[in-house]
Symmetry: C2
Subunit: 315 residues, 2 copies
């Protein structure tokens, strides 16, 4: 039998191929494969439609290391049926997304977005500037994973009170209080800022809907950096039009790129960013730290040491 | 002789007149004065050209409490000659300005300013987004007063390394290192971010000039929230045009409002804000905390307990 293959479906710097080979000397490390070699893939780094069918029909595939944190685009049921291990890139983007969110909040509270628009027309416009203070605000993190925890840690040091929502309401370090997702609509009314960082699952589909927006403060901000379909877009548009909330910053959408005809583009009280919150400098190093840790434990005992996805749960 | 007057040259809420009266029962608290009453003013809260001459020729004026932090617009030599005490509003705006600066940095590093512009044209524009990470950057605070210290405290918790510049280079808590202003041009080359928070004095005039900009990293950011004339505007324009630095965010200018014909409006790599960094919610409470503390000590022993300005120095 041919030597098992570690298939890198994305380009990484040469140094990383060497490091992978050093950890797993009994494997071949490949970035391109011939048709003949596909059945020998045991570990796939990244996943693309192109090879999906062939890899899934081979019984040698044992582990997929996803590049991204979200894995809702992967054939989770097939992985589950076939006992294929799955790990994700969760954590890599936490700092980036946390910085994005803090920037978005201060851009709104300190009148910076407005200033950017005014500058294009050479308008000084001091009198009409909206200003507020971030410190002292109550922020609800919906999804207390890596990103939510990083955000909480950073923004608390700026004087913000952070509350968390997760499946069961189990306590998480660094939040003043955590609540179960069932209590989302009860708790939003006390929040100045609601940040969605949820994975795309059956349970989270359209969880941010009119019921939630209508219960939020009229001065409140809604931010989504999780999955686009956690938001009921039509109902968000209504809520913004009727000023149920003051401002929304959206980095993810039900349809991406956001179609030109979406009314969201035109709202003064909306910031559209093109799915950039996770863009991360030094991505390869951060990703390889996760993959190499898993590779070590996989080679030793066929187990993953970090970021294993529970296939039934979807994250 | 008529009872001495505390003259509030700016409107404050009723509650504060009562509090002032309670601390200083032997004084009259006035917000409007007749010509006859001006000579009885002993304490002026705020200062306006309108009453400047009359107040300066009265020998009963003893103390001016400035509303702002900067006092370069006041007749400091006259105050000095006449032994008039001066205190300023330093500290009130520290949190606001610190939030402004962090927002400006993240707006640039995380591609948010660019997204605001793209949104106006319904451009998704993910590929051309500039992104970087704030955490890990070296930031030089030029002026380690209240604002600089607040900024350092907040931004260090986001992973930024802060260095300070002050007159003598005396150490200040919360900075990794501080340097004397004489060493400014030596140290800027090591910095990713240079923030000017200097008062307007003879020594600080045009201190940010071509010599400094040329020594900065080409990837560096320059922010000015101090006084407009600490920057040699023409040389900054040249530096931006020649890409000696990557980005400038300016909240103060040699001439305000910034004239329509200024080339600064047109630079893609400049953010103009209309002197808004200090806009502060709950301003009156924050200001009165300073004034009432000083009033207590003044009534007791004719001394000021906080924020006294050294008249010769100018801050």
């Amino acid at each position: 039998m041919t030597k098992p293959i570690i298939f890198l479906q994305r380009e990484f710097r040469e140094e990383f191929s060497d490091k992978i080979q050093a950890v797993a000397p009994d494997y071949q490390v490949k970035t391109e494969l011939t048709e003949d070699e596909l059945p020998a893939v045991e570990i796939s780094v990244g996943w693309s439609k192109k090879f999906s069918e062939q890899l899934l029909t081979s019984d040698r595939l044992k582990w997929v290391q996803s590049i991204s944190a979200g894995v809702d685009y992967l054939p989770l049921n097939d992985f589950s049926d076939r006992d294929i291990l799955l790990s994700n890139g969760s954590g890599i983007h936490a700092l980036s997304i946390s910085e994005h969110i803090i920037g978005v909040l201060l851009g709104y509270y300190r009148g910076l977005n407005q200033s950017v628009k005014n500058q294009e027309q050479k308008i000084w416009g001091q009198d009409a500037i909206h200003y507020d203070q971030l410190a002292g605000k109550n922020l609800l993190v919906v999804g207390t994973g890596h990103i939510g925890q990083q955000l909480s840690k950073s923004i608390r040091s700026l004087g913000v009170n952070t509350y968390g929502i997760n499946t069961t309401g189990h306590p998480v370090e660094g939040f003043t209080e955590t609540y179960s997702i069932k209590n989302l609509s009860k708790i939003v009314s006390e929040m100045d800022i609601v940040v969605g960082i949820l994975p795309g699952t059956h349970e989270t589909y359209h969880i941010f809907n009119s019921d939630i927006f209508e219960k939020m403060k009229k001065s409140a901000i809604f931010i989504n950096v999780g999955r686009g379909d956690t938001v009921h877009t039509k109902e968000l548009i209504t809520a913004l039009g009727e000023k149920h909330i003051a401002f929304a910053a959206l980095d993810v959408f039900e349809e991406e790129p956001l179609p030109k005809e979406s009314p969201l583009w035109n709202f003064e009280n909306v910031l559209i960013t093109p799915h950039i919150s996770g863009l991360t400098v030094d991505f390869q190093n951060k990703f390889m730290k996760i993959f190499l840790a898993n590779l070590k434990s996989y080679v030793a005992n066929k187990e993953l040491s970090v970021n294993q996805v529970e296939l039934k749960r979807g994250y």
